[in-house]
């Protein structure tokens, strides 16, 4: 990253975080010994790299943790612990919603296990990993949105406010979960893969 000709511009996401950058190359010299594989085969090598990206198993486990935190929050509301003061629509919409989110989390986990078990047997997943990717990233948005609502006005506060709950996790992930449906192939692209490779439908 210190080579002459490289410049880095920050890309700030809509949650106000800076974790990505735009990298601009201007006649950057790279010694030939860093060429991986043969010249002009980069496309195929690049595609191999992307394949590894699509077999992610971690999302469901992270989301399970978040869901458990939300359930704890709701439980404490009934216990008189003022640390977690407010649940929107308690007793009415909240319980079935949490039940639904739990079912969905399990579904996501099994979609990932399916990809894993294929890889274990040496098969190469393609539309199966797309299904898991769409599901996890969109579930992440539903989970963040549901948590935000349940916490009422508290849910909207970010870390730094003394009224923020769970470090403002839901206010933050409500914003960051959007990017997950874009990164590593958008939901539309993944659905296209499922339609073509999974269902054998034509491209257009």
């Amino acid at each position: 990253m210190d080579a002459p000709g490289i410049s880095v511009r920050p890309l700030v996401n809509m949650a106000g975080e800076h974790v990505f950058n735009e990298i601009i190359f201007d006649n950057v010299r790279v010694p030939r010994k860093y060429l991986v594989g043969e010249e002009n085969r980069g496309w195929y090598i690049g595609m191999t790299t992307l394949d590894f990206e699509r077999s992610n198993i971690s999302s469901a486990a992270q989301q399970r943790r978040t869901l458990e935190q939300l359930v704890e929050y709701v439980k404490e509301q009934g216990s008189g612990n003022k640390k977690h003061a407010h649940v929107n629509g308690a007793g009415n919409g909240v319980k079935p919603k949490l039940a639904e989110l739990t079912i969905e989390n399990e579904v996501g986990r099994y979609l990932s296990y399916r990809v894993a078990s294929m890889q274990e047997r040496g098969q190469i997943p393609n539309y199966e990993s797309s299904a898991a990717k769409v599901y996890h990233s969109e579930y992440g948005q539903r989970l963040a949105g549901a948590g935000l609502k349940m916490m009422g006005l508290f849910g909207q506060l970010r870390e730094g406010s003394k009224h923020a709950r769970l470090r403002g996790r839901f206010a933050r992930t409500y914003l960051t979960s959007v990017g997950s449906t874009i990164a590593a192939g958008t939901s539309e692209i993944q659905r296209g893969i499922i339609a073509q490779r999974g269902l054998g439908l034509s491209r257009i």
Partner: protein, 186 residues
């Protein structure tokens, strides 16, 4: 069809949980993209601990610093790390860069890059996308042109977007050539 993990895999899960209880504070609740400053330093330290268990790239063959661990055990490990929000800074190196170099790289490249991945010393990033080539990645405009012993990555008509997971504090010569290693052959 058996949906259960084996006795061995369950025992391994217990071992991982115990390691994590010792390595991560109970109130740790940061997501990967939130890490900066102190939390990033902790993440680097944690990744070294993970490396000392041989758990940074457990499924890789021993010759590449892995343990040749069975696939489902690796799944168990990933699950537990994710559940505890373990800040693993080796992830991109292990999931994207490493396998590519193991499959396509020559011996010298493997010697140079693989140990830094499995030890948790080098943080990698990934730069494919350009401003006009995201979904349609076949439209990439970036070119590397041979010039003597170098490749020169040329600037195209539009500026190129390599949207990478480069963090402020990982910018160093270390991160650099990695990314180009992938790009130089594009």
């Amino acid at each position: 069809m058996d949906y259960r993990f084996s006795v061995d895999e369950d025992a391994f899960r217990g071992e991982v949980k115990e390691f994590l209880r010792g390595a991560i504070p109970e109130d740790w609740d940061y997501d990967p993209f939130e890490l900066t400053g102190e939390t990033w330093d902790f993440a680097k330290e944690f990744t070294k601990k993970l490396a000392s268990k041989g758990w940074v790239a457990p499924a890789w063959p021993k010759e590449y610093g892995g343990q040749g661990m069975g696939y489902m055990k690796q799944v168990v490990l990933s699950e537990e790390l994710a559940y505890s929000r373990a800040p693993n800074t080796a992830l991109i190196g292990v999931t994207y860069a490493g396998p590519t170099i193991i499959v396509y790289g020559n011996e010298e490249q493997k010697q140079q890059f693989i140990p830094g991945i499995t030890s948790g010393d080098i943080v990698w990033c990934q730069g494919y996308s350009e401003r006009n080539a995201g979904s349609d990645i076949a439209w990439l405009q970036r070119r590397a042109v041979r010039d003597g012993d170098d490749y020169v990555i040329l600037t195209g008509a539009s500026s190129w977007l390599g949207q990478t997971r480069t963090r402020r504090n990982t910018r160093g010569s270390a991160t650099s050539s990695r990314q180009w290693t992938l790009r130089a052959s594009a």
